[in-house]
Amino acid sequence: MKGSNIGEFEELVLLCIASLGEEAYSVSICDELLRVTGRKSKLGVVHSVLNRLNEKGMVKSHLGEPTQERGGRRKRFFEVTHAGKVALLKVKEQRERLWQSIPPLIFEGIKI
């Protein structure tokens, strides 16, 4: 349980990585985040989160092939680890439980 708590942004990033599958690297994660949440996050911020997730063991990475568009520089691809998946599921479960115990009447009539 220790260290398996993830912040809101970290959770979002993890979900993005999971949804992107093979193509999850910092730029695409950033784009996906933008597409889903509408938040324009800077590369530096995302990278910092990725670093933290890596340290917590929720994410692992590997270097890809160099490409012409990046001036010959390689990309770093990210993958959610087992621990990361567990953490995500746990969070999802916690949310669901909380939602279930809320009477639907409270959210009647609210549109997003």
């Binding site: 730029v27 800077k42 590369l43 990278h47 910092s48 270097l63 568009e69 990046r70 001036g71 520089r73």
Partner: protein
Amino acid sequence: MRRKDRYPETKSPPKTAEKFLAWFIRADLKEEVQGDLLEKYLDHRKKYSSRKANLLYWYQVLHYLRPFAIRNFYLPSPNLYYMFRNYLKITFRNLNRQRLHSLINILGLSISLTAVFLLLLWVNDEWQMDKFHANADRIYRLKRTIPLEGHTLDVYRGISYPLLEAAQDELPEVEKYITIGHTFEENLQIDNQVIRAGGTFANASYFHAFSFPVVQGDITQLDNKIDAMAISTTLAYQLFGEAWQTSALGKTVHIHDNGDYTIEAIFADFPSRSSLQNDFFFPFQAHLRDNEWMKEWTNNGMQGALLLSENADPVQVGKELEKIFQNHQSGDNKEGCFLQKFEDDYLYGNFNAKAEVDGGRIEYVQMFLAAALLLLIISCINFVNLATARASKRAKEVGVRKTIGASRKTLAGQFITEAFLITFLSVGLAMIGTWLLSPAVSLITEKSLFIDLSSLYTWITLVGIIFMTGIMAGAYPAFVLSSFQPIQVLKGRFIEKTRDISFRRGLVILQFTLSLLLIVGALTIKAQINFIQEAHLGINKDNLLVINQDAEVVEKYEVIRRQLEGHPSITGVTLAGPSPLEMPASTSGVSWPKKRPDQENIEFCILWTADNFPGVFQVPLHAGSYYRQTEGPDTTHIVFNQRAVEIMELDGDPVGQTIEWWGKPRQIIGVLKDFHNRSFYEKIEPAAFLLDPDNAGSLFVKADEGQISEAIAGLKKTFTEVIPGVPLHYDFVDEQYRQLYKSEMLTGKLTNYFAIISIVISCLGLFGLINFVAEQKTREIGIRKVLGASTGSLVTLLSRDFIRLVSIAFIMAIPLSYLFLDKWLERFAYQVNLNWWLIFAIAGFSAIALTLITISFKSIQTATHSPVDSLRME
């Protein structure tokens, strides 16, 4: 055209941002971050204008300034320790492998560092003079200014006693006045023992203000009892032996010509860093009693200092004192006075025409400091030259190191460390050298010089020197050596940049120019000193003995004279004083018909003489005749020198004219030819000669050429016979004269040594260089020989370059040295007429000769080397 315009499809982010990112980003993140940002940028370029894309790029870059992404600027690395050990190892291995080269390097550095240390010791000693007094910042010397023609001021140390007294009585800021008398030698007698010592008069404040500790007794008795006396511990030991501590106090000592005094106090020996040196003191009041004339405001027969209260303003006190002083004077053109800090007098003793400090011994200190720096530079140049010349040998090492990942900075660090290590070694050797040489140097400079390892300053200076030398010597080679490109070097295609070669050549020229400067300087100073010593002074000081006056000598003068003149080795005996070669006594109490108001303060030197003065001293008469022997002093006649007559602008023949001397008329009966009566720095002063043998201070005995020892024997005999109670003590006049120029002689000696050391070091450097060049060219020479080159042409090949450099150095040194030395000679009123061409010729010739000798050995050896051996190396 910009690259963007030529290749429009190449879009790149702003360069500065890229560079900035590359600089701060952590190394392992660098690649992916740069890639990511580039991708984003290109994306933006498609959607937005280039300006917006650039801005966004900057935006992104700046947001990478997060703790996790910034590289580690601080390199603690435990590796540092191991690296250092590696450097040490490599340095020693290199030193061992290139023994000759290392020897040259270390030797050169050690020699010059030794010289530098000795110099710094001397400078330090001079600097510390008189600074040890606890009250040093409150003690001020009183100095007097005299207005002369043309609004110039002359500064004197002599002041009048009433002024000192008035200072203490009338000015509240003055706590005490201190009497400073001229130190003279006297014979002190206790029971039957006679010791000769130096001392003077003083009041008790002398010991209260200055830090001269009193060991026994009560020093205030110097003020209370008129027959009190204080002596130093050394003198006590000399007079009373081992038991002086119990037996000295209270005893009576007889000072010849002065009287009997009782020892009331014993003081510790004056330290060597005191400009005042005395072994005994008798009360100032006693001196005053015997010299009533000192009580007059117009007589300035002593020196003095004032102890001011805390926070007193010396300038203010000086001004008020001047007011008091001038109140007691009459007429226009009044003399003035001011205060100078006591400790400053030693180094800053010269004043210019406006009575402002204008140098003095401090100039010598500055000169020697500059010389020390010069020497250090010359040997650092050596180091730099040799290191960069041999760069090609280290090239491979550099290449390999760079390949396995050493940065340029690391390499530079390595080479500087090497330089520091070598400097360290040299400093160690230099310390040993200094320790060995300091006794000898102490002797020459008459100081006690030694390295004080307990003083913090010593260590700070040492570290500072090591640092400075290490950087000076190591910086450029480190720069050059670390710049080698590994690819070129490892492939073997190592070619030296022309820039580096020219720099080296420039350094050699600089080195030799400096050395030549020193050589020319040494030669010039030597010439001037010789000139001073040998110059025709107008007065003969050879074979002349001087015996200081004693009341008994004066009494029995006639008897002594007759006896001595009868001696075959003695050609003349006379009385004269104070000193014909220095004429310290002077007066302005002379009046003549054409005297102008601005000549009010002209001082005429005075010499009291006996009637045979001109004969014994061989000073010819310009006009008239000298005195005839009379009963007692002659007060109606007077004799001047030419300069005096010049100033007085008498019409017609001066002989027979009347002038006023000390208020009474006198007739001029003779004019002596001018002779140098002051130091060679100054022009000949106007002088007057009085007939008054009783007041003439010293007995002069002239011996025959080569008969000095016989003359001395005869003198001794006469003394024992006629005046048995008076011990004989004599000096040689020409020796005394030489003493006047001690500083110049010291300068001359030291400059000689410098010149020698610097040329030796330069030649050492040259030797190293030519060794190296010879090594490099071994194969080339071998091939040339095979093709038929003569030995001569090969030698020329090797040496031509160096000779050319030395010649350029010579040409540059000529105008520079001329400038400096002309300025130095200006301080002498009488300069030697230098044959400049001769000096330059000698300097240049010796430089080239030494260069040739240095190179010849190696070049001839290489040229005659069998080509078979050198070519076989393939």
